[in-house]
């Protein structure tokens, strides 16, 4: 139920983001989703890719500072109130969201929201109880 996310430390220098994407592209790795958190000095690029293990290896080789984090990918109806319903489930279960980002599925009426949550297992069971679809690695990489 968990999805592997790769986080990369990126200094605010021109060309750094391009270098990451070139390393991935050059190795045939496809980005499925991404978000960039930034401060005045640096940013953290968070990626969901189709081949996480290979991505880790090639980025490490290119001297990037990385970390691997487990996140969950949740299918949310692409309609008003869709996200609010999911957040209400988590909120009622007393679960905090550290950060999240979303993208829209190409071939359906759903959006996919990536959640980083401290207590992932509690989140999974709360969402399952409420019949929310959680995507696993293989499904996410096929989006």
């Amino acid at each position: 139920m968990r999805v592997k996310q790769i986080s990369i430390f990126i200094e605010n220098r021109s060309g750094r983001l391009r270098e990451v994407t070139e390393v991935l592209g050059g190795n045939g790795i496809n980005i499925r989703a991404l978000s960039l958190a930034d401060t005045s000095d640096y940013g953290i690029l968070r990626l969901i890719v189709d081949q996480p293990d290979k991505a880790l290896t090639v980025l490490k080789k290119a001297n990037f500072t990385l970390s691997e984090t487990d996140v969950i990918a949740v299918e949310v109806k692409d309609e008003p109130g869709g996200l609010a319903r999911v957040l209400a489930i988590l909120g009622n279960a007393g679960i905090n969201v550290e950060y999240m980002y979303a993208f829209v599925e190409k071939s359906s009426n759903n959006a996919v929201v990536i959640f980083r949550i401290e207590d992932i297992d509690a989140a999974i069971s709360a969402l399952k109880k409420n019949k929310v679809t959680i995507l696993d690695n293989s499904k996410v990489t096929k989006i």
């Binding site: 996310q5 986080s7 430390f9 990126i10 200094e11 750094r16 958190a37 401060t39 000095d41 640096y42 953290i44 968070r46 001297n63 990037f64 500072t65 990385l66 970390s67 984090t69 550290e98 950060y99 980083r116």
Partner: protein, 432 residues
């Protein structure tokens, strides 16, 4: 205004006699009382009695900050602690400070040279001295304080910081003499201007500024904005504190109070003495100190010495305004900072690598210190708040060692220059 005409305007030959007599005494005194000097003289095959004339001093070994650190805290004192009435300290090259001890007589000597310094700034018993140097282990605050009291002036021991209050007191108490670091003087000027204070109407007459390098351009700027006469004062904890030398109103070099502190200029590479007027490293020997005498202390400050008499009437040797350092010490907001201090903090912290680079900037009139640290895999978190906690922790640890705040910038691994020899750890962006 000359505080002690007898000694400050003494005929040069007469002073040389006095210096020789005192030098012989202090060499013996240090040799007999401080094991470090005995060993160091013996190792170099030289005895105090080998000093026949002043120039013989250059045959004696020198003492460095590292020697002082190795003998931390009291190893170079010539008197037992019961005879020490005060301790001060300044930064060492790593975590431990350099400690200076003073006997009752040393405190009197210090007050004497500070009274001379303040008199150079036209301070009399009618003046009101606002002393914005820091009080505490730092020698600046109490050094000025005792000198001003000796003159009989009125002292406001306000210490540094709280600039708006400084300005209020300046207006309300009628401060005539301001003492602080030159950058703080500029800061006071800026704040006073922004508060709309009519600086011209204040009672300010002169300012004694030191503890950090500054330029004549900065002097012009301060004088114009604060409407006072600004003089450069010099000193260091290892020698006594402020009061080693001071400009007079002629403002052409700093008079070294060389009946108490004997100056030499050496080539920092060959360590050979340099003739009058050559640029080199200042070396001082204390002639009258009891608790913590120093024989040929290498200051690392770059200057030159000249001996022609000054129109003010003083006959002391004069030193040129300090133009640099022969080591990597930085002076930031009046505080001495060594890159090795920062390195020792990073080495002691589990989360960091000892790869760093220091950037010093001057924003307005205040110096800022920024330390770039590489983010290692082991402590990289994908949550910004965790990285911010780390930044704060490093900044806090560094501040606890160097005594001033700094900003930590996290950079990618392998981006800080590695060097085979002496790595370049510092970029000073200030235009001094």
């Amino acid at each position: 205004m000359i505080w002690n005409e007898k000694y400050e305007s003494m005929p040069i030959d007469e002073r040389k006699k006095l210096q020789l007599e005192r030098l012989k005494y202090v060499l013996n005194y240090a040799y007999e009382r401080i094991p470090f000097y005995k060993q160091s003289f013996d190792k170099n095959g030289i005895k105090p009695s080998d000093l026949k004339q002043l120039s013989d001093l250059s045959k004696f070994p020198m003492v460095t900050k590292i020697d002082l650190r190795d003998n931390y805290p009291f190893g170079l004192f010539a008197q037992p602690l019961e005879n020490i009435s005060r301790l001060h300290a300044s930064s060492g090259t790593t975590g431990k400070p350099i400690v200076a001890g003073y006997t009752k007589n040393d405190i009197d000597t210090w007050a004497e040279v500070m009274a001379r310094t303040l008199s150079c700034g036209d301070c009399t018993r009618k003046d009101i001295v606002q002393n914005a140097y820091g009080y505490g282990l730092f020698t600046g605050g109490l050094g000025i304080h005792y000198g001003a009291e000796k003159i009989g002036a009125t002292v406001i021991p306000i210490s540094g910081g709280n600039t708006k209050r400084q300005i209020m007191i300046m207006e309300d108490f009628g401060t005539s003499i301001l003492t602080c670091t030159p950058s703080y003087a500029l800061n006071i000027a800026e704040v006073a201007e922004s508060m709309g204070v009519d600086i011209k109407s204040l009672n300010l007459k002169s300012g004694l500024f030191g503890a950090e390098p500054w330029t004549n351009e900065m002097r012009d700027n301060i004088e114009k904005r604060l409407h006072l006469s600004a003089i450069d004062i010099y000193g260091l904890t290892e020698v006594i504190g402020p009061g080693v030398s001071s400009e007079c109103q002629v403002k052409d070099g700093l008079h070294v109070f060389d009946d108490h502190f004997y100056p030499e200029i050496i080539d920092p590479e060959t360590l050979e003495p340099l003739p009058e007027g050559e640029l080199g490293e200042l070396v001082f020997t204390s002639l009258t100190k009891e608790a913590f005498p120093v024989i040929r202390y290498r200051t690392r400050d770059i200057s030159r010495l000249f001996y022609n008499p000054c129109p003010c009437g003083r006959t002391h040797a004069r030193m040129e305004r300090i133009s640099g350092r022969s080591d990597d010490m930085l002076i930031i907001r009046g505080v001495n900072v060594f890159p090795t201090q920062i390195e020792s903090v990073l080495l002691a912290m589990e989360e960091t690598e000892p790869h760093y680079h220091i950037h010093v900037h001057r924003e307005g009139s205040l110096d800022t210190l920024e330390v770039w640290v590489e983010v290692g895999e082991q402590y990289f978190s994908d949550e910004i708040k965790q990285l911010e906690v780390l930044q704060k922790k490093i900044a806090h640890e560094i501040q606890s060692v160097i005594g001033i705040s700094c900003r930590i910038k996290l950079v990618e691994p392998q981006t800080i220059e590695r060097s085979e020899g002496k790595a370049k750890r510092v970029t000073d962006h200030r235009k001094l």
